[in-house]
């Protein structure tokens, strides 16, 4: 087998594609982590987003409507964690486990009730997310194959990495949020609204997961499949740990998993059974965690 030929433009394009939902969910994880809420519900939030995006697109007849429903639906779903872990002082881990199961059950239930199908739902009238064509890039064949034709959400994800990094480290609100995550008691004494900020962070994270879900169900395919988040939310949780809660570090960690995912897909094309290549991102994640031992951040992690 010619291993070097694996590393071509298509591999990098697939990496970018695979990274987007993970990256958006991981950015949600960063906000929650910085605010001091250990969010393991990313998987469920993403799944709700994916379902709401499809349902919204189907009923409103427009992709923009689908994304709006995905954002609203996922924010509403995230409110359970936002208020449950603050005002009601529930354990975020127990709530997270409950939310993941609720998302899995609720989307499967609604799939049968609303569309009368089980497994997957798609409809030929639905359009996918608009793709961005940049003339300068389109003129260069290799770059075009890597960067051309990605969805709006993909580009938004990378812009959000910068926006969230600037927010966290260059604005007063970001400073306050980090203070609340690191020393909630001290922040409270200084007059910061700990519960309010945490609620805001979790809800903003919900919006990001809504986008992640929209990319899953309206990005490269236009369909909803039961449990289609398939562990990506958990990889995002790990990416937050590996990137130590810094948006840029987290983005690099996500790239690693996206690359493993894409490389697995390519190897599958070369005849390796997909049961084995599907394991690649998880194995890489574990190896990366073991390698990064001792560099673990304390704090929000239980």
């Amino acid at each position: 087998m010619d291993w070097l030929s694996l590393f071509n433009a298509v591999l990098f394009a697939q990496t970018i594609q695979a990274v987007t939902p993970i990256l958006l969910a991981a950015l949600a994880g960063v906000l929650c982590d910085r605010a001091g809420v250990f969010n393991i519900a990313l998987e469920g939030q993403m799944l709700i987003g994916a379902f709401a995006a499809i349902a919204g697109t189907y009923y409103t007849g427009s992709v923009a409507g689908g994304v709006a429903v995905a954002l609203a639906g996922t924010i509403a779903f995230s409110a359970i964690l936002a208020f449950g872990a603050t005002w009601l002082r529930g354990d975020p881990i127990v709530i997270g486990i409950g939310l993941n199961l609720l998302a899995s059950g609720l989307t499967a239930f609604l799939l049968r009730i609303l569309f009368g199908v089980s497994g997957t739902f798609t409809d030929p009238t639905m359009q996918d997310l608009p793709r961005i064509v940049i003339p300068r890039i389109a003129a260069m064949p290799w770059f075009n194959r890597v960067f051309g034709g990605h969805s709006v959400v993909t580009w938004a994800a990378w812009i959000l990495v910068v926006v969230i990094a600037v927010f966290l480290f260059r604005t007063v609100w970001g400073l306050r949020l980090r203070g609340i995550g690191e020393r909630p008691d001290a922040a409270e004494t200084l007059g910061a609204d700990v519960a309010g900020s945490r609620i805001a962070a979790v809800l903003a994270g919900g919006a990001l997961c809504g986008l992640a879900g929209a990319q899953l169900s309206l990005g490269s395919v236009t369909l909803f499949a039961e449990d289609m988040s398939a562990g990506r939310g958990w990889i995002a949780v790990v990416a937050v740990m590996l990137g130590r809660g810094h948006p840029v570090g987290v983005a690099l960690a996500c790239l690693l998993f996206g690359f493993a995912d894409a490389a697995g897909l390519r190897l599958q094309g070369r005849g390796l059974p997909n049961q084995l290549t599907d394991m690649a991102p998880y194995v890489i994640t574990l190896v990366a965690l073991v390698v990064a031992r001792g560099r673990r951040r304390r704090g929000a992690m239980a």
């Binding site: 127990v94 709530i95 059950g105 031992r293």
Partner: protein, 341 residues
């Protein structure tokens, strides 16, 4: 009389019962919104769970579900979470199938060897995740979950390619012969000797929890890990041991399902009823206390079995029962919060 009143009052203030009640109310609202009669839906679930032959069905379903409840409850008693039950379950099922199919020994010996091998391999796999936390600082929650994926991938690959029975159209291994299967316990029902094995495990877990040193040390850790370490317990070794026990039970459940119910390893068949996640919910409902966890596991098994009958009778998707379980856990998590305030 006073004791009875006290018990009733205790039950009325118990957050678990309130959570279940709240879950049923939310479920009723969901069925109403979906255009169905909640009374009929709950009636069908109840009848489908306990009336006539359905009761045996519930017991048969409770064996794997209560087993997976213990898988989650054992570490939870010490404040640890094992999210890798799926991986440990399929690994146990695959090992049991392999030994029962290919070990050159008489049937009964093969059966015993298959069960023990499944428990040993799944236990070791869970202990590997514990070792990942102790040695490398990978949180147990994450290491157990991530290790689940390679286990699922490898067993799926084995069932689809090298070990596949080409005579069926399914991705599954050959059939285990009669002699190496778990015998039926109650003729005419799906209840096998797996029930007896499970009861033995429950007895062992409850006894260790109430009377054993290991159980005492684990409960202590659940209350205060630092104090436990100060008291001379090596937390690292304890983590590895507890996870071995938890994984071994998952392996046993895999073996019971393969040797007593399906007679072969079929890709996906062990995972589709989501025993691991229902079991985790049940364990959380009892916060790891074994007797309570077993009761919660029974309740969820009845709910699932009743769900099948409800789906047949009312056309409400039975996945509603999964939603109910999740809602109950969420309500419980919040009620705990309110009380602590």
């Amino acid at each position: 009389m006073n004791a009875a009143i006290g018990a009733v009052r205790g039950a009325a203030t118990s957050s678990v019962l309130w959570a279940i009640l709240g879950g049923l109310v939310v479920g009723a609202l969901i069925t109403l919104a979906a255009g169905h009669d909640p009374v009929a839906v709950y009636g069908e679930i109840l009848a489908g769970a306990v009336v006539g032959p359905n009761l045996a069905e519930t017991v048969a379903r409770a064996v794997p579900l209560v087993g997976m409840t213990l898988v989650a409850a054992i570490p939870l008693r010490g404040g640890m979470v094992n999210l890798g039950g799926d991986g440990q379950l399929v690994l146990g099922g695959m090992v049991a199938a392999l030994v029962a199919l290919y070990l050159p020994a008489p049937g009964a010996v093969r059966l015993a060897a298959a069960i023990l091998a499944a428990m040993a391999v799944s236990g070791a796999y869970a202990a590997l995740a514990a070792w990942g936390e102790v040695k490398f600082g990978v949180p147990l929650l994450i290491s157990t979950l991530l290790l689940s994926y390679p286990a699922k991938g490898v067993t799926s690959y084995l069932a689809r390619f090298p070990l596949r029975d080409p005579s069926t159209g399914m991705p599954e291994t050959f059939r285990v012969e009669e002699a190496a299967r778990l015998p039926v316990l109650v003729p005419g029902t799906p209840i096998t000797w797996g029930l007896v094995l499970l009861l033995l495990v429950i007895a062992a877990v409850v006894f260790t929890d109430r009377r054993g040193t290991a159980g005492y040390e684990l409960r202590l850790r659940g209350l205060n890990p630092r104090f436990t370490a100060y008291g001379g317990v090596d937390l690292g070794r304890q983590t590895v041991r507890v996870l071995f026990a938890s994984g071994a039970v998952a392996g046993l459940v895999g073996a019971i399902l393969v040797l007593g119910d399906q007679f072969r390893f079929t890709d996906g068949a062990l995972l589709s009823p989501a025993y691991t996640w229902s079991g985790l919910m049940a364990a959380l409902l009892a916060m790891g206390e074994p007797v309570g966890a077993v009761c919660a596991g029974l309740f969820f098994a009845a709910l699932q079995t009743g769900g099948f009958a409800m789906e047949r009778a009312t056309e409400v998707p039975r996945v509603l029962t999964l939603v109910l379980q999740a809602v109950i856990i969420l309500l419980l998590a919040m009620r705990h919060g309110l009380r602590r305030r």
